[in-house]
Symmetry: C2
DNA sequence: CGATTCTTTGAAAACAGTCAATCTGTGTGG
DNA sequence: CCACACAGATTGACTGTTTTCAAAGAATCG
């Protein structure tokens, strides 16, 4: 739990009193590998901050193919924003790819924190802006790059994730098949 | 300018006094077809609300190929968020595809409005959340759909834009070539 | 070690891209 | 008002990339 407080303190000034407020509304939850945090169809009413481990957000299509929308390692947030905001059944699954520990804050508590701690509100707003920009860059990559360029771009942006994830998950994240990724890697290594 | 005030009033309560505050920091700018609002390399320091017409945000790659990131018709916002937030040179061009009129609010004025008018701040935050979700759905389409499915998805989400834009721009938006889109349409019409 | 998951490889097929030519519709200037 | 230019759309033939399916190898985990 303290690593969450540390995270907040790295990003804005937080009094001990406010830190206590954050602690009072937070609870932690351990997830074993493959355990769901959100399952398709659930309505998601929390904010989840990853204390330890690695979560993945993905959908499964008719053919059983998994499509990864997001990976959330330590110090990232996880959940289904669409379900959270609109209070509709989740279209995505979120589960633990590694044994993990998350910190949960309910939606009403989160709204209270935003109102009571302006610096936190400001920080989260800024985080959302930056996430939006990152997502836009991902679209740019999707619509204009070849398989090899998409993979290189992934390595550039998430060098650390590349070591923690199996290739087939990276492939599904960038929108190509595992076989194509294998061939792309072979091709890169020959240079 | 009043259509901007109307837009705000459709989304939250706005006193006449606050409306006057919005008017005082807004100026309008007419753009002729093909005229730039932001050119690649500029730093973009405004918020632009489209009063009339249609703007497009796109990049141009080494081969001269255009990749459309966003279309902004009436009642949408335009600009390069990455340049605006980080104050870096824009990677995208924004220009008028139809003769247009935009309303401009400078970054400092925008920050003042966010601080002075909490309901506006709340509305813009919510708009950003919803834009984020829409963008995430676009990524989902990018990584999991075939050309035909991507096109059908575009028609479903932006039925009105489909009539205002040439096909080759729609193709570049969903990440396929104009020729492929033509064949997809032919194929759809045969059913 | 045995089972499972992940990666690689090959061959064939499907899909989308490229290039070039033609067709269509629109608008402009003579 | 017509001729022409221009941008956009379509079509064909071809190329290249990526997917699919299947099988074999490698790595990992309980």
């Amino acid at each position: 739990m303290e690593s969450f407080i540390d995270y907040l303190r790295r990003h804005f000034e937080l009094s001990e009193q406010d830190a206590e407020l954050f602690r009072s509304v937070s609870r932690t939850k351990k997830l074993r590998r493959k355990q769901y945090l959100v399952q398709e169809g659930d309505v998601w009413r929390y904010n989840a901050f990853v204390l330890k481990g690695l979560l993945r957000t993905y959908s499964v299509d008719d053919k059983g193919q998994e499509h990864y929308i997001q990976f959330s390692p330590e110090d990232w947030w996880a959940g289904d924003r669409e379900s959270y905001i609109y209070e509709t059944p989740a279209k995505y699954n979120v589960d633990a790819y590694e044994d993990s520990e998350v910190l949960l804050i309910s939606k009403p508590d989160m709204e209270m924190l935003h109102a009571e701690v302006p610096a936190f509100n400001h920080f989260m707003r800024n985080l959302l802006e930056r996430s939006f920009i990152a997502l836009r860059n991902r679209v740019q990559s999707n619509i204009s790059f070849t398989a090899e360029e998409k993979y290189r771009d992934f390595l550039r942006i998430y060098p650390d994730l590349a070591n923690r994830l199996p290739q087939h998950m990276i492939a599904a994240y960038i929108g190509i098949t595992a076989e194509t990724l294998s061939r792309v890697r072979h091709h890169i290594s020959k240079k």
